[in-house]
């Protein structure tokens, strides 16, 4: 079932308030997305934990309602350089 990009962004920000979220609709069908999520809260977390935090924010939709979400997570660059 298609899900608008704005809804994905809203859900991620509801649970990770400082997140910078960039979403691309890969196929233009509202069903295959790539998301880049940058948040200070990811600092010190493994990649697996960072992705799990985003999946948790999306509340079980990934792998179900939201079939394809290519995900990239990162800590803001300024944090790394400090």
């Amino acid at each position: 079932m298609p899900m608008p990009a704005s809804e994905i962004e809203r859900l991620i920000k509801a649970s990770i308030p400082d997140a910078e979220v960039v979403i691309r609709d890969l196929a233009g069908d509202g069903d295959h997305y790539a998301a880049r999520v940058v948040s200070r809260s990811f600092e010190g977390m493994s990649r697996i934990k960072q992705h799990q935090a985003v999946y948790a924010a999306l509340g079980g939709r990934v792998g179900g309602e939201l079939h394809a979400l290519q995900l990239e997570t990162a800590v803001p660059q300024s944090e790394i350089n400090q």
Binding site: R47, I48, H51, Q52, Y55, G60, V62, G63, G64, A68, Q70, L71, E72
Partner: protein
């Protein structure tokens, strides 16, 4: 532990590098699984695959096993490494070569 969970634990324990995927290495049934296979082949890794489409219990159970909602999933030496996005990031940074180089 349920039957599916113990079967998954066995698979992960008994194979140094194992990819749970949709389809087979020759005929992946999903773009993400296809990408995961391509990465492992590119690295010349020796790996086993488990086709979750042939086994509904494993397909559901693997998500619970790792607290990870999607397939493919890569395990190296009993440790969950990640899905295809993490594999790609680790491939690009050289970490996956390192991880597999020591094992393969």
């Amino acid at each position: 532990m349920s039957d599916a969970q113990s079967r998954i634990a066995d698979l992960v324990r008994s194979n140094d590098v194992v990819l749970f995927m949709k389809g087979t290495a020759l005929f992946p049934q999903c773009g993400f699984s296809s990408r995961a296979v391509a990465i492992l082949d590119r690295l010349g890794a020796n790996y086993e695959t488990v086709d979750v489409l042939q086994d509904p219990e494993v397909r559901a159970g693997i998500k619970e096993f790792s607290d990870w909602p999607t397939i493919p999933q890569l395990y190296v030496k009993g440790e969950f490494v990640g899905g295809s996005d993490i594999m790609m990031e680790m491939f690009e940074s050289g970490e996956l070569q390192q991880l597999l180089g020591a094992e393969a």
